[in-house]
């Protein structure tokens, strides 16, 4: 007996409630944008400059004690959070201290660092500093720009590739799904306030890649079915294609999720945010390839018969894009 996540034969209508799914997606996107502007992202030092110090001690983390020890140093905005992980030993207590960029300094100077470490040793003699990272405001500004360019470049490259391989309607559908995924991911980061740093940008681009993977597989089938069923209504072709590829879509999402969840739980706290972004991206990406990319393709219509100038038969907006 085989494990089947999806029945062998499905004939579900994915577009009977497009107004609801579109509304749902639109609502979430608006919520994401609002969250981004109202709550804001918890930017890591990569993007706003400053220093993070990871501390480790055999004694329990005393956030108040650390704060008191650092207070006389006038370091400006200091945030201290305790870090938990299943891999830690019983006597391994880790915290993350973030200090804003100091006036007139790019990366933290050894002098400032020595003063900070001495102060913390005063609060906890057993403390050690497994990692210190410091990014100057000059570099962080450039990193922000590079990150934005990278995401835009990825989306543009994909737009062009799909346009070359398929039609522009497919291309728009795929890119709409990508934008949807990226916006929702940024939104969720604003809500849960996980540190948003360079690694998350890598995750975003991977989400772009993954979501696209899904979308392209569906579109590939749509293209094939459009050739095979010349007379079939576009909506039915899309439904058929999605149903046919549904088993594969679910299988791949599940195997990827198995791998990612294992990494999320056991992979250590350093990459947890990164993995979280990807898990979210896989879920959203799978959803969007059906309910955003294909639904937009349905709205835009596809030119099916190249012998006539306008033959968007079967679509209600047939003459909009002729």
């Amino acid at each position: 007996m085989r494990l089947r996540l999806v029945p062998a034969e499905t004939n579900w209508d994915f577009f009977s409630k497009t107004s609801i799914t579109f509304g749902f997606s639109a609502l979430l996107m608006v919520a994401s944008v609002v969250a981004f502007f109202v709550i804001g992202l918890n930017f890591g030092i990569d993007f706003r400059g400053g220093t993070t110090i990871r501390t480790e001690s055999t004694q329990a983390v005393d956030v108040g004690g650390y704060r008191d020890a650092l207070a006389p140093l006038n370091l400006g905005d200091v945030s201290i959070t305790e870090v938990f992980d299943v891999n830690f030993r019983d006597d391994q207590h880790v915290s993350q201290i973030r200090i804003e960029a100091q006036e007139g300094e790019e990366a933290i100077t050894p002098e400032t660092m020595a003063v900070i470490q001495d102060a913390l040793r005063g609060a906890d003699p057993a403390i050690t500093f497994p990692s210190v990272e410091s990014v100057g405001p000059k570099v962080s500004g450039e990193l922000v720009l590079t990150a934005i360019y990278a995401v835009l470049a990825a989306i543009a490259a994909v737009l062009v590739y799909i346009w070359l391989r398929f039609e522009w309607q497919f291309s728009l559908g795929a890119v709409a799904a990508l934008v949807h995924d990226v916006v929702l991911t940024i939104g969720v980061f604003a809500v849960v306030q996980i540190k948003f740093d360079l690694a998350i940008i890598a995750a975003l681009l991977t989400i772009v890649g993954y979501s696209l993977n899904d979308t392209v597989v569906v579109f590939d089938r749509v293209r094939e079915n459009l050739r095979r069923y010349k007379k079939m209504d576009l909506k039915e072709v899309l439904n058929l294609s999605i149903n046919e590829t549904l088993s594969r879509t679910v299988m791949t999402s599940v195997t990827t999720l198995i791998a990612l969840i294992s990494l999320y739980i056991l992979g250590g706290d350093v990459i947890r945010g990164f993995v979280f972004a990807m898990i979210w991206g896989v879920i959203v990406g799978t959803y969007s390839s059906v309910f955003v990319a294909s639904a937009i393709l349905l709205r835009l219509g596809v030119k099916r018969d190249w012998s006539k100038p306008d033959a968007n038969a079967g679509t209600q907006f047939a003459n909009v894009d002729a």
Binding site: N87, I108, L198, A199, D220, R248, T256, I258, A259, I271
Partner: protein, 553 residues
Amino acid sequence: MLQISLWKRVVIWALVALGLAYAVPNAFYSRVEQHNDAVAEIELYGATAEREADASAWPEWAPSNLVNLGLDLRGGAHLLAEVQVADVYSARMDALWPEVRNALRGERATIGTIRRQDGPEDELRVRISEADGMPRALELVRALAQPVVSLTGVGSTDIEVAGQDDIIIVTLSDAEKLATDDRTIQQSLEIIRRRVDEVGTREPTIQRQGDTRILIQVPGIGSASELKELIGKTAKLTFHPVVSRTGDGATDPGPRNVIYPSLDEDGVFYVLEQTPTVTGEELNDAQPSFDQNGQPAVTFRFNVSGARKFCEYTGENVGQPFAIVLDSEVISAPRINEAICGGSGIITGNFDITESTNLAVLLRAGALPAELEYVEERTIGPELGQDSIDAGKVASVIAFAGVLIFMALSYGLFGIIANVALILNVGLIFGLLSMIGATLTLPGIAGIVLTIGMAVDANVLVFERIREEIKAGRGPARAIELGYEKALSAILDANITTFITALILFIMGSGPVRGFSVTLGLGILTSVFTAIFVTRLMIVIWFERRRPKALEV
């Protein structure tokens, strides 16, 4: 029909075997590393019994390339330094001033007296008393211009000269500035490399980044502060005649003199002649040692011209003090007891042994042409790196097991074939990473885990397609053939688009992000290869042996 010609089979297996052969050394990481180190040492310093023993721990004929571990896995320090290239401009202007003075002196009659004026650091301003002589003065100064020696600067000269009322303004031309910047960076790179190499840490990465930045990554060093101390000092050593000693730092040193603080004694300042007698550039060697009181010190040796200058100067100034200055601080100001003509000397100060060792390193490597400003630094402790490796290993194994079980449950025999391919796939990724000498970072491990999840996708596409073809009533052989045929375009399109994003990550990303993009990109290549060649071959071989009447996928 389901046929794969023999030579294709041979090529496919040979590629797999080659990739796996390159992956194997990583399973014996420390042993191979020891072997590689020993081989390198034998080449450099000759063989010893111990090195021979280490070298023979891994067979000579086997591949010995390893995946480099990134800083986040091995621990170490990362610095991004911005070279203050403009520092060099003012030095250039200072050097130009005597030339300008000499050129104008001959024409006193038309130009009048000349005097250097204060101005911005990268300008040379000279006032002439007879403003009417300006055209002649400009002509003379312009004659000093040299053609720029660089590819882009062909046809332009190194200085630009302008007249403003009675002031001549000399600046470096843009082409010359570019050429100078380039030289400054090259020089800085070279000196930083020498300084870092002196300490003998393994595999430091020192490379130019952008126009004026230098990236320095040193695995295994304790902290970025340590690394900064090593390379951070300009280490400009100079010997100056002493004019006077004072307790007041605000004293006006007088023309052509400078005032520098003492390194050891608080509140003591020395007024020195600005032009040094000898500089650190004329040193041949410097070594840490001890002075006659057993205090750590640095002995140095001048080269021929330095030794001659020093001999002449000390001979003429017996009984006078002279100052040894390092980066605008007076290390010591001993009195000259006799002419020092041996060409060597000793620097004593309040050093401890590490400081004297570091100073010797700095002096040997030479001075940096410009100051460095650190714009980014990261230190990762080796324990944290080890923790990350351990966590990554556990997570990968569990992820692997989960996917294998899931695939076997879903597709039976075909699932197991896909699983074999998946294992080969991870082996191939490691093989490729070792072959190209890529660096594995923590996000890189995440990339591999993600690939484990996604690599099955191509196989899933094919298997689902085979299921459909069976459902459509095709025979087993035809179903397998059509399954591969029809799934191909989806596999390629899906993987090419993902590969595009990996490529963009590689081009635009840096550090860990780049490490991730490399494993992701290689993972896509190997998973497509295993899916459309290796699993297909395995299925065909199975099919030829069994000739099943019906397929169960």
